[in-house]
């Protein structure tokens, strides 16, 4: 049983996925504030890891790593990551993967996986 990651083309597909996903995120005022002033190439490497994990690829973060990594994240107004931001990010990840041809049923699976780390990312 191959993973979604393998089915959409593995590592090579991740570059296209990151472009699509990151573009959606930066174009959305509701979440783009968290990425203000961050080095784009650095961020792209992290987004790739995120999408690799989301699609069942060879990258796993522990709950602790996710919590530590997002704990200090603030937007330009000093707000931390809230539930609505997580929902928006999950939507954009789904949107990007849909454009790469991932069927709706599997998008649902990916969303569920990302939902399971919601509390780590919002540090709640």
């Amino acid at each position: 049983m191959t993973s979604i990651y393998e089915r959409i083309g593995g590592e090579a597909a991740m570059d296209a996925a990151v472009d699509l996903f990151y573009r959606k995120v930066l174009s959305d005022d509701r979440v783009s504030g968290f990425f203000e002033g961050i080095d784009m190439q650095d961020q792209a490497t992290k987004q790739k890891a995120f999408l690799t994990m989301a699609t069942g690829g060879p990258k796993k973060y522990t709950g602790k790593e996710l919590r530590e990594g997002h704990k200090h994240v603030k937007d330009k107004d000093g707000n931390g990551i809230k539930d609505e931001h997580v929902t928006i990010i999950i939507e954009h990840a789904g949107g990007a993967l849909k454009e790469l041809g991932v069927p709706d049923g599997e998008i649902g699976e990916i969303a569920a996986l990302l939902e399971s780390v919601r509390s780590d990312v919002t540090n709640s």
Binding site: D15, D19, M40, A44, T45, K59
Partner: protein, 325 residues
């Protein structure tokens, strides 16, 4: 089985063991995280030898040609000398060949190295004043038989190194050169040579861009090349005649000087903001190769906008000139 050389150590690499694991085992502090070829933290550089294709998957073309590889994915079949990134650059002695004023506050410095240095125009070097002081400058010329390096140096207010270049340095003097460093250079596959290129920079950002342009033309780039040079005023532009000559010689090169306030000194100048003018070049930058050099704020602004307009992250090369604090 193969041998792995790292710093002063030699290891026997048993089949299946990655370079990263072997070095960690040997007590070396190699940055790493995912061990899956994704995070790039474990990036090392080849000093000599060859790495398997899997060890370079996911890296930019420029990084691959510079010999970077992901040590967690590297299981070499042959002997390999590896090092931490940027240890491959060397120290050279050089002699000043010429100092030419390009504008009120920019000097073209050409030095001759005491031995050949392999580099790509667009990379940068550290220019050393004796052994005391150094700053980074981009390489504006193609490699030459005479081992010359051309740099464009702006006189910074209170700039220690730039003041030395402007007021003390003379033809025949000795300087130190360390390099080459950086990955902002022309490295485009055969299939992509017909795709359009965008080069945009402010001030002395023209130095690497000019070098990259010369390199692209030398390597027979067929696609359209747009080169934008931004400055505050006409008097801060330079190499205008050089650029115009290039556009006459190559019909795929378009030179667009952009200044905030024009006094009509230069023909064909556009008055406006560099980022706005650059973005007008196309409705979509998908499949374009982009090179951005110069002022940090402007470069980051253009980088983001051009990405949002379709440019792939892999094809955007940004070299922001961060002034010494």
């Amino acid at each position: 089985m193969s041998r792995l050389y790292f710093k002063d150590d030699v290891y026997i690499l048993k089949s299946g063991i990655s370079v990263l694991d072997r070095l960690l085992d040997g007590g070396h502090q190699i940055p790493h995280s995912c061990k899956a070829g994704i995070c790039h933290a474990c990036k090392l550089q080849i000093k000599s030898g060859v790495v398997p294709e899997a060890a370079q998957r996911g890296l930019k073309e420029t990084e691959k040609s510079e010999g970077y590889f992901l040590s967690c994915q590297c299981r070499p079949k042959e002997d390999l000398h590896a090092c931490l990134p940027a240890e491959v650059d060397k120290q050279y002695s050089a002699q000043v060949i010429s100092l030419n004023k390009l504008s009120d506050d920019i000097i073209q410095l050409i030095v001759k190295l005491d031995q050949p240095m392999s580099f790509h125009p667009g990379q940068f070097v550290n220019l050393w004043k004796r052994n005391q002081l150094h700053r980074s400058y981009s390489i504006a010329n193609l490699p030459s038989q005479e081992n010359l390096i051309e740099m464009h140096i702006r006189h910074m207010p209170n700039g220690k190194l730039s003041s030395w270049v402007f007021f003390e340095l003379k033809k025949g003097d000795s300087v130190g050169i360390q390099g080459p460093l950086g990955d902002c250079f022309y490295q485009i596959s055969k299939e992509d040579k017909i795709k359009p290129m965008l080069l945009a920079g402010t001030g002395t950002g023209l130095a690497p861009l000019y070098g990259i342009l010369m390199d692209a033309l030398k390597q027979n780039h067929q696609g359209k090349i747009y080169i934008y040079h931004g400055a505050l005023a006409d008097t801060q532009l330079y190499y205008v005649e050089n650029m115009k000559k290039l556009t006459k010689k190559h019909d795929n090169v378009y030179y667009i000087p952009v200044v905030l306030k024009s006094s009509g000194l230069v023909d064909g100048i556009i008055e406006g903001a560099l980022d706005e003018e650059v973005l007008k070049t196309s409705d979509s930058f998908a499949s374009w190769n982009i090179y951005l050099c110069g002022d940090v704020q402007m470069i980051k602004k253009i980088q983001k906008q051009i990405f949002l307009k379709g440019a792939s992250l892999k094809t955007i090369h940004a070299d922001a000139f961060i002034p010494y604090a």
